[in-house]
């Protein structure tokens, strides 16, 4: 366990190096991006001085790393606000949307998957497969626009954009984020549902399942009590990957629904070359990935007695 955490931290460090290097490779710098068309050599010189861009990149990186280790994310170069303050509300928005989508998607995916395994090769199985594979094959923005067209414009049930702010109540927030959560659900369900179905079906030819059949146990019970626990490890891994996606991969849905999440902040910061903010966002995204993978491993071990008590 300790080794895994240490490896995770090492990964984070390597990622931070790669990102610092990558952003440095992009043409132009923050001063040029801020001034845009209005840049003059004199304006650039003064702004670079004000932004501290005259110090070499490796010094700036070490400064940043030093701050990060002590829990200080520093200030945004572009607007001098503390990065923690910039990220805080957006991170909670992103987690809210991701969590909401996960609450809908995971039960649906598991139920559909189990039922698909139970009625494998039936009309139902094929129908679910076609539907979920179709929805995963469309680009997210397309699904989002279709949902907006029908549910916001034609029917008028939901708002066309998810303009949320701190003054809204929890229920209002849920109502306003339902469409983006639904688009995300449509995108992630297929993967989890197919994995659930596949790993259960894999086990169904095992001798102990045959034994259960011979004992006269009902098929649903065989699947939920006998097959599912042994199929959990791969399912949990896929769920973890999809959860990570719900946090880090939602920038397109954020743009379409004008949802103020972390992805938008990262994209903005990359286009403006605001390195400290890019670094901070990337660290959060990388941590989410590492944390979810770690949890998936731990949960797989916990659900599998053979791994829990190794000989």
């Amino acid at each position: 366990m300790a080794q895994r955490i240490a490896l995770g931290l090492l990964t984070l460090f390597v990622i931070s190096l790669l990102i610092a290097f990558g952003v440095e490779l992009l043409p132009g710098d923050l001063a040029q991006e801020i001034l845009g068309q209005g840049a003059t050599p004199e304006g650039l010189r003064v702004l670079r001085l004000q932004l501290g861009l005259d110090t070499p990149p490796h010094i700036r990186y070490l400064d940043w790393l030093g701050g990060m280790v002590t829990g200080d994310m520093g200030l945004s170069l572009a607007n001098k606000r503390p990065i923690a303050e910039l990220i805080g509300p957006r991170l909670s928005n992103t987690l809210f949307l991701g969590g909401f989508a996960a609450m809908i998607a995971i039960p649906i995916a598991l139920t559909l998957g189990i039922l698909a395994a139970l009625y494998r090769n039936s009309l139902y199985d094929r129908g679910v497969n076609i539907f979920t594979l179709t929805s995963i094959s469309f680009p997210e923005f397309f699904i989002a626009y279709i949902l907006i067209l029908f549910f916001a414009i034609k029917l008028g049930w939901f708002p066309g954009i998810s303009n949320i702010s701190s003054e809204l109540s929890f229920l209002d927030k849920l109502y306003r984020t339902l469409l983006p959560a639904a688009s995300l659900t449509l995108v992630v369900v297929a993967h989890m549902m197919r994995m659930t179905r596949a790993s259960i079906i894999n086990l169904l030819s095992s001798p102990y399942i045959e034994m259960a059949h011979l004992k006269g146990i009902k098929p649903l019970r065989i699947i939920t009590r006998h097959a599912l626990p042994n199929a959990l490890a791969p399912i949990i891994n896929v769920i973890a990957i999809n959860l990570a996606y719900l946090v880090v991969g939602v920038v397109i849905v954020e743009v379409v629904f004008v949802y103020p999440g972390l992805g938008q902040l990262l994209v903005d910061s990359v286009s403006k070359r605001d390195v400290p903010v890019v670094q901070a966002c990337s660290m959060i995204f990388a941590s989410v990935y590492i944390f979810l993978n770690l949890s998936a491993d731990v949960i797989s071990i916990v659900t599998n007695p053979r791994l829990l008590y190794p000989r």
Binding site: V256, P260, K272
Partner: protein, 529 residues
């Protein structure tokens, strides 16, 4: 789509635009004797005044997480509109006439050949923090943009040799040379008047004299403000609250308006504008201003250092086709100079340059054949790549070879513009001829994107700037437009209209054309009917 031909200039009017907004042509017809931007007249215009109340929600195409409240950093529509919501300036562009009129100043006066400018300040104007505005605040607000400052207004204020107060309500500027338009410069949107303390302003405190008091500002997301009870204008700022949301995606913006999530949006996607106009309860608004698109050639680089090449290319373009296909009719053709039909001294008698393959071929042959590259990206203006490809087609007919190089949007302004020999560019335009020419056409100016230098032009520029006689000035600016058109490095194919939309609940008077969205002052000027 109806085409009207006036003064040889094809003017394309889109008649599908809602009936209420009948005339945008006034600008191009040259009726308006306005100083700066132009006006439209709309159906519910000229109501004597507005009605109090409500929260106006605007969905704006700009806004970035890197935005800041510091006036020296304002550069996009989100920050410019926020600025006009919470802060005021010495003068403002009058929506109905386009003239520069005093705002925080009560009056101004130029003496000594427009070298000394006296601004008398309005008395009893209160900042949001309760302080009364005085001359010290004005001086500190100007100083924020002078000296070691990265403010874009800095180069404008280079001409100020000294600034002093005369009593609490008068500020006197001494300029290094006469400038009859200094009242325009002093009212630049960057130079917001903010409260000072010990001779300095706090640039990011968000405090001003404006009609609304800042409540919330989340960069790149939203801005919220409530009415300033002691606002000094009694006939402005009708809303109780104003909210601006950044909606970058054009489809999302139009959805937001269609579903009633916002009351107004800017930057309508021109391709689908006619569909939006069909939606009930939505008014499409259109204003002709000074915004224009250009193809600047570097006149210091071969082959563009040869005026024959420049003329060949200027004659090898079907401007009206660009207006029709790239602007979908929401604009007017340009005449290879940056002065808009709405500008005070626009040279309306200058013959419109037309597509003429024979002349183009003649100049191309004189130059020994023309084979050039045109770098374009949609970052320059929406549809720039399409425009470049159309240009290529038009030029082929005249035996001119243009190779279109598609550049990335990312970093366009730092890597392509003013670097590649020939590219695409947009200009928001400037309210005065002098300002526009000084910014981008004077020899050696830092934004002279054609690297063009013409001695006669530079001489006229200084003459025109200090000239206070209107007729003499007009003659000077006419000649300058002719010089730019015949010798300059920029192909100016078109002026683009500002196209935006509101719900029919929004009322307004005549709209200004100096910026998008009623001169960016809609928070102050509009109301709910």
């Amino acid at each position: 789509m109806k085409k009207t031909q006036i003064n040889n200039k094809p003017l394309i009017l889109d008649c599908k635009v809602s009936r209420r907004n009948f005339l945008r042509g006034s600008a191009a017809l040259g009726i308006a004797g306005s100083t700066a931007g132009l006006l439209t007249m709309t159906g519910n215009a000229f109501a004597a005044g507005g009605k109090r109340g409500g929260r106006l929600r605007a969905g704006i195409a700009h806004g970035s997480t890197t935005d800041s409240l510091d006036p020296a950093t304002y550069e996009n529509n989100f920050t410019i509109q926020l600025n006009y919501g919470i802060q005021n300036h010495l003068g403002e562009v009058d929506a109905a006439t386009g003239a520069m009129v005093p705002e925080l100043a009560e009056s101004w006066e130029a003496t000594n050949g427009a070298q000394t400018w006296i601004f008398n300040l309005r008395q009893g104007v209160e900042f949001h923090n309760g302080k009364t505005m005085d001359a010290d605040d004005v001086i500190a607000s100007f100083q924020h943009h002078m000296g070691e400052s990265a403010s874009p207004a800095r180069s404008l204020l280079d001409q100020v040799s000294s600034m002093r107060k005369d009593g609490n309500n008068r500020v006197i500027f001494e300029l290094s040379g006469g400038n009859a338009d200094f009242n325009f410069v002093a009212s630049d949107y960057h130079i917001a008047i903010k409260p000072s303390k010990d001779g300095k302003i706090d640039p990011t405190d968000g405090i001003g004299t404006g009609g609304y008091v800042l409540k919330e500002f989340e960069p790149g997301v939203r801005f919220l403000a409530e009415r300033h009870a002691n606002f000094f204008k009694s006939d402005r700022a009708w809303f109780d609250e104003i909210e601006m949301i950044s909606i970058i995606d054009p489809a999302a913006r139009q959805n937001a308006l269609a579903t009633g999530e916002v009351d107004t949006i800017d930057r309508i996607d021109l391709k689908t504008a006619h569909l939006l106009a069909r939606q009930s309860g939505v008014n499409l608004e259109e204003v002709t201003g000074t915004k224009h698109y250009t193809f600047p050639m570097r006149t210091d680089t071969a082959p563009f250092d040869d005026n024959n090449v420049r003329l060949a290319l200027k004659y090898a373009l079907k401007r009206d086709e660009l207006v029709e296909k790239v602007l979908y009719g929401h604009g007017t053709v340009g005449n290879d100079h940056p002065i808009a039909p709405s500008n005070q001294y626009h040279a309306s008698t200058l013959p419109q340059r037309e597509y003429d393959p024979d002349k183009a071929r003649f100049y191309a042959e004189k130059a020994g054949g023309v084979k050039v590259q045109l770098s374009a990206a949609d970052a320059a203006f929406p549809g720039a790549v399409d425009a470049a490809v159309l240009y290529q087609e038009h030029a082929t007919a005249a035996g001119i070879e243009i190779e279109v190089v598609r550049e990335p949007n990312d970093g366009y302004w730092s890597n392509v513009w003013m670097n590649k020999p020939w590219g695409a560019c947009y200009w928001g335009g400037r309210p005065t001829e002098d300002w526009m020419f000084t910014t981008a056409y004077q020899g050696g100016a830092s934004w002279n994107d054609t690297f063009w230098k013409n001695d006669r032009f530079d001489e006229l520029l200084l003459l025109g700037r200090a000239e206070t006689n209107r007729d003499t000035r007009r003659a000077i600016y006419y000649e300058m437009q002719q010089i730019v058109s015949d010798d300059g490095g920029a192909v100016v194919p078109m002026f683009a209209n500002y196209v935006f939309a509101t719900t029919d609940k929004v009322g307004h008077s005549a709209m200004a054309g100096n910026w998008d969205m009623d001169g960016a002052k809609y928070f102050e000027r509009w109301w709910f009917v």
